[in-house]
């Protein structure tokens, strides 16, 4: 193995770490409101039904957008916004708070099954929230 190490490039600007969980909670109410009109009953549970097909539907664009927005802080990973501190002994530290999280998402597949994925970026979150078929047939 041959590793090289990089030198610290100096302190970065202070990051404003918000309460991501609270932001996420804030988006919940709008989700609930959007889905109320498209809900039905399956085995005693209320689920989202596509009125055209009668099947459990996938997330709508509006739902995906709202959920993606709620994830922005958790998946921020903005290196520039992380404040670096240096101690007298040379120790470097940074508080990430809730900006470098691994987020567990779930979304309904076209076949009605629920897919899950652990994501750490907006790209992988977007892919997780718009799942294709569990298995392509053509």
């Amino acid at each position: 193995m041959n590793h090289t190490q990089k030198k610290a490039s100096g302190a970065k600007l202070l990051a404003a770490f918000g309460a991501a969980a609270l932001l996420a909670c804030g988006a919940t109410a709008s989700f609930a409101g959007e889905n109320a009109s498209a809900a039905g009953k399956v085995q005693g549970m209320q689920v989202a039904i596509d009125p055209a097909t009668g099947k459990i539907r996938q997330p709508t664009a509006a739902e995906i957008k709202a959920l993606s927005t709620s994830l922005q802080t958790m998946l921020n990973r903005s290196a520039e916004s992380v404040q670096i501190n240096q101690g007298p002994d040379g120790t470097l530290s940074a508080t990430l708070g809730t900006s470098y999280l691994n987020v567990w998402l779930a979304a309904v597949h076209p076949d009605g099954s629920i897919g899950q994925a652990c994501v750490d970026s907006a790209d992988s979150a977007a892919a997780a929230l718009q799942p294709g078929p569990a298995l392509e047939v053509k």
Binding site: M1, H3, T4, Q5, K6, A8, S9, A11, K12, F17, A21, A24, C25, T28, F31, A32, N35, A39, V42, M45, Q46, V47, I56, T60, I64, L67, S70, R77, A79, V82, D89, T91, L92, S93, A94, T95, L96, Y100, N102, V103, W104, L105, A106, A107, G115, Q116, A117, C118, V119, D120, S121, D123, S124, A127, P133, A134, L135, E136, V137, K138
Partner: protein, 563 residues
């Protein structure tokens, strides 16, 4: 003084490199929920799967503590690990939602005890290596080590109502989502199974890489992620099948963790092509070892209403005589996979390669069902399909389609564990997960598989590589063959102190380890003394010890009651 000279047997190395048997860490769940919500939800609950909590809140807390205890029994740290925990109504709808999230709250670099300089460490690991709490402060604040919050609404009418959290501790989750397994996974990220790289931008805090990236190797470029520029990181994150974990302990664990038999298309001739990763079909004869070998022939059919090209095999093949007894290659598109493969089978093909019609890797599986299909088939990527077709234009191409018995599922041909690097990005983080091709399924794949038990498989070996069992010898633990070596300042043989400095080699092993190897391999005292004599002669030749020091060690060995 260090030298690369290496004397130990592989068997002894494996024994020395194993994780300590008496690991222990105190992982504390810090309940940050308010009254009557989350962990404090007073809703009565019946005991489930060994979870005896009488309320929903208590069962949640029990599941958290159970997962924490599992990790705590495996890791080793003198500093308590605080997980700031809550159950909240996270963003969710009837069709999609956030189930939970976790991660390290702080990161540290260049602290006392760090064996790799200028890389970030997760705070819990940094504390362990430093032997003290580097971020002291009250619980429930940023002084905690890991934050973990999960969705309390899951299974309610407005949040993925068709599923639910299973709070049992026995893994019998049925249709529910096993909370303990998800927690083991997410805690794993917070404890060290994650990088701090932004794979979209290539950015890193303060431009410093991290201990996870230190062992992430791109086998195409030969560069570790700590050596890459931002553009190189972005490219590597999409380099399917060519990003591996290159730490000693994970690599040693691969043979006892992953099964032989990777679905591959191996090119027998001409040389220089492949092997190609394939997505196996859900129908027909499953891929097997040694697989089906034959010449490849392009399947041709009419360009008609069933399919617009002569290579889509949506109609009966027009070159059946050429295909018979051969492996047909055809293109994805228009009609179902089963129709294509059945047409090839009807023409006498012994196997089918479906070339994708859109870029992306790894190749997905072929779905569909047709019980009349009896031949094996699989998909290759658009690029790999084009490479095979180009080779066909130049002559005969002979391949084997099947499970390659020499390559473990989830490892590269050199036996290193593959990291997840799909192109384009798929659901699930790239790099900070194992490749989902792994078999048996692993805890740190991008998604939880239903057959997982409450173990951490070779994730503990990743934790070993990054430093959770460090012997503080200055050799990064993923390169250290002797994590449990005798750290005495001088070489002591059977209680006899030779006074010879116990030199550390670049392998992480010391002279005392080599003497121990002699003791372990000797069937009688004479053989032990002879082994030590050879060892010290070599050390003398290499200039590591003097003649007098050689004599001192040999004298101790001669008088030692070994074996």
């Amino acid at each position: 003084m260090r030298t690369g000279r290496f004397f130990l047997s592989l068997g002894l190395l494996a024994a020395l490199a194993a994780a300590p048997a008496f690991a222990s860490a105190n992982i504390v769940i810090v309940n940050t929920d308010g009254p009557n919500e989350g962990f404090n939800d007073p809703t009565p609950a019946a005991p489930v799967g060994g979870n005896t909590g009488a309320t929903v809140g208590q069962q949640r807390l029990n599941a958290f503590q159970h997962a924490a205890n599992i990790w705590g029994s495996l890791l080793d740290s003198p500093v308590p690990i605080y997980i700031q925990s809550s159950f909240d109504p996270l963003s969710c709808s009837a069709t999609a939602g956030t189930l939970g999230a976790a991660g390290a709250i702080q990161i540290f670099a260049n602290f006392p005890g760090a064996e790799v300089q200028n890389v970030w460490y997760h705070v819990a690991l940094a504390n362990k290596l430093a032997g003290e709490d580097l971020a002291p402060g009250p619980t429930g604040s940023d002084a905690d080590d890991i934050v973990a919050f999960f969705n309390s609404n899951l299974g309610t009418p407005t949040c993925l109502a068709t599923t639910f959290w299973y709070y049992g501790l026995d893994g019998n989750h049925g249709a529910g989502i096993d909370l303990v397994t998800v927690l083991l996974h997410e805690f794993g990220h917070g404890l060290g199974f994650a990088n701090f790289v932004n794979e979209t931008t290539g950015g890193m805090p303060a431009g410093l890489s991290d201990i996870y990236a230190f062992y992430s190797l791109d086998t195409t470029t030969g560069k570790y992620w700590t050596q890459m520029t931002g553009p190189e990181i972005r490219a590597s994150a999409l380099n399917t099948n060519h990003v591996v974990w290159d730490g000693l302990h994970v690599t040693q664990a691969v043979p006892t963790t992953l099964a032989f038999g990777t679905p591959l298309l191996t090119v027998v001739s001409p040389s220089g092509l492949g092997p190609y990763r394939v997505g196996a079909a859900a129908f027909g004869t499953p891929l097997s070892a040694p697989g089906v070998t034959g010449d490849v022939v392009r399947a041709l059919d009419a360009a008609d209403a069933a399919g617009p090209t002569t290579s889509d095999a949506c109609s009966p093949l027009t070159n059946a005589a050429a295909v018979a007894g051969k492996i047909a290659i055809l293109d994805r598109g228009t009609c179902g996979f089963t129709i294509k493969v059945k047409n090839a089978q009807d023409a006498g093909a012994i196997a089918v390669i479906v070339a994708d019609n859109a870029p992306g890797s790894p190749p997905a599986a072929l779905g569909g069902a047709d019980p009349t299909i009896t031949i094996p088939s699989a998909r290759v990527t658009l690029g790999d399909g084009n490479a095979i077709k180009a080779a066909l234009a130049g002559g005969t191409v002979k391949v084997t389609l099947g499970l390659n018995p020499a390559v473990r599922a989830g490892a590269d041909p050199q036996g290193r564990a593959l990291l997840n690097a799909p192109n384009p990005v798929q659901p699930g983080s790239s790099i900070s997960h194992w490749d989902p091709i792994a078999s048996p399924n692993l805890l740190m794949e991008p998604a939880i598989n239903a057959d997982l038990t409450h173990g951490v498989d070779m994730t503990i070996d990743e934790m070993t590589d990054i430093g959770w069992f460090s012997d503080h010898d200055g050799v990064p633990d993923g390169l250290d063959s002797c994590l449990r070596s005798d750290q005495s300042a001088t070489v002591i043989v059977g209680g006899c102190n030779s006074g010879v400095p116990n030199t550390v080699f670049s392998t992480g092993c010391r002279i005392s380890d080599q003497v121990a190897a002699c003791a372990q391999g000797a069937t009688n005292h004479g053989k032990f003394v002879s082994c030590v004599s050879h060892l010290t002669n070599d050390l003398k030749k290499d200039g590591i010890i003097t003649s007098a020091q050689k004599g001192a060690i040999q004298s101790c060995a001669g008088g030692a009651p070994i074996p």
